[in-house]
């Protein structure tokens, strides 16, 4: 049954800055993507050695999800199968595909090849958090909040999921942007209505 859903938390990483729920938490102007993502990891005192082996798309999605969920997600309210992830981007895994291609002429690298799929970032977020529910990766020319909202609403309205992390995570070279939304059926203090309009204005703030 269709009821209101709420955006409990949002996080955006783009243009050398991290913001959560509209507040800038960290900036590192001038750093390239590699240095910037490492500085985010260090600033928030994350301790997750798998981070270092990830490609840039997985690092971006993983960092955004970590900060999104930090302090704001009551994960013990949910079974692993009730938590899902729906992500979109325009460049698929092209950033890492180009890096893998460079290894082919020498020795093809299995550890680079495994990241030549866009949904691996979802796998990394699921492994980190033990999320086992529905997930999907869609390729879209640009951020399409109406489509994402439709997909997520279907999963929540039909009780396939109880909560869902959704949004956009895209990397190509030095261009990167991720905006993730934590969508729940219950309304917390700072919650916004889960609507394409609200998603769009949050996405376009940065």
């Amino acid at each position: 049954m269709a009821t209101n859903k709420y955006i409990s938390s949002t996080c955006t990483i783009a243009k050398n800055a991290v913001s959560k729920n509209g507040v800038t938490l960290f900036e590192n102007p001038g750093a390239d993507i590699t240095a910037f993502q490492l500085s985010v990891y260090q600033h928030f005192h994350f301790n997750y050695p798998k981070f270092y082996k990830m490609d840039n798309l997985s690092k971006l999605g993983w960092l955004t999800a970590e900060i999104l969920l930090k302090d704001d997600f009551e994960r013990f309210n949910y079974e692993p199968e009730e938590i899902g992830v729906v992500l979109t981007n325009s460049n698929s895994s092209l950033d890492n595909d180009l890096k893998y291609l460079d290894t082919i002429s020498d020795i093809p690298s299995p550890s680079v090849f495994v990241y030549t799929l866009p949904n691996i970032v979802i796998g990394e977020i699921c492994i980190r958090n033990n999320f086992k529910g529905e997930h999907a990766f869609f390729i879209q020319e640009k951020f399409d909040p109406a489509f994402i909202a439709q997909q997520v609403n279907y999963l929540l309205d039909n009780d396939i999921l109880e909560t869902c992390i959704c949004g956009w995570a895209d990397v190509l070279g030095q261009d990167y942007k991720a905006t993730l939304f934590l969508v729940e059926k219950k309304k917390n203090e700072q919650a916004l209505l889960f609507s394409p309009g609200n998603m769009d204005s949050i996405f376009n703030t940065i």
């Binding site: 093809p108 495994v114 030549t116 691996i120 979802i122 699921c126 492994i127 529910g133 439709q150």
Partner: protein, 380 residues
Amino acid sequence: MSRISDPDVFIVADNIFSPLGKTTVENFEQLKNSVSGVKQHHDETLSHIPFFASLFDEDVRFLQSGDGYTKFEHLLIASIADALENADIDPKDKKTVLIISSTKGNIALLETEDNNPALQQRIAMSTSAKMIAEHFGFQNQPIIISNACISGVMAIITGMRLLTAGLYENAVIAGADVISKFIVSGFQSFQALSPAVCKPFDKSRDGLNLGEGAATVILSTQQKFGGYIKVKGGSVSNDANHISGPSRTGAELAHAVKQAMSDASLAATDIDFISAHGTATVYNDEMEANALVLSDLQSVPLNSLKGYYGHTLGAAGLIESVVSIQSLKENLVIATLGFEENGVSSMVNVCTSPLQIDGVNFIKTASGFGGCNAAVVIGK
């Protein structure tokens, strides 16, 4: 959780465009005769060493749809065109949506063209989807799914849900992947390729074969298709265990299988056969067998079609679903080519010869990198 009040989602038409044939019927005839598309290839543009795969001959002309399309796009167009020809569905109708599934799309262009922003734009899957939509006159923005080896099954589930939610009346769902050096070298680097025709679920299985191809299913909720075979339910899950190795227990695939049956309001005893993922890698088949036992499906006849097509990646879920739909129509489950002796620790019922059935429902499973699993239930 059943969706009793939702409209039925009928499968109106389908196509398989593969090295074995250009239509579903052509493909099914080949499978009935145990013809495999997998053979050894010596092609320096794909690999320095010979490898087994199911590939199109270089001189195959896909269609006369004009220039400017890549092989990936030609495959999709050929498959969609044949399916549309057999369906009373208008692609130009506002109530029709196009869904495309692929893992790597036009990635082969990186091997022959200079890398620059224009090429990157050309490789983007939304570029291909737009060209294909324009070719047929689809009015709505196409939906593109790229979720590793479950992409094809996920595309069917996504189409089913968009239709039951009433957003569209018709969905044209097509998947394709083309085998390139990029893909061959990657699977070689994982030591995942078998040095011969693959042997799903067999004791001596030693890896997968790659394959290329396309397939299409056209779904509709229009009542005029009442009596057609239906997509009844589906589910997706994640292992949350490892990005390149399957779950140790199979519990997560089992969850997807059970949820798909529940979504279809069916029990394990209602399932007449299983179209397994069955890649013939040691770990996938072991995990899958465990999952089927956990789902109470261990005695249900199952096949893997990887010995005929290889692993067609983003097309696999669609190709194998279409074969199984044809099995329901002809009451014949295709044998698992390459299987001789059970090689998984949980006993499952692998079909070793063509099996006559009077079946109503089958379940199609898929699993892939990123820990993803999917299951869809299709039946009369």
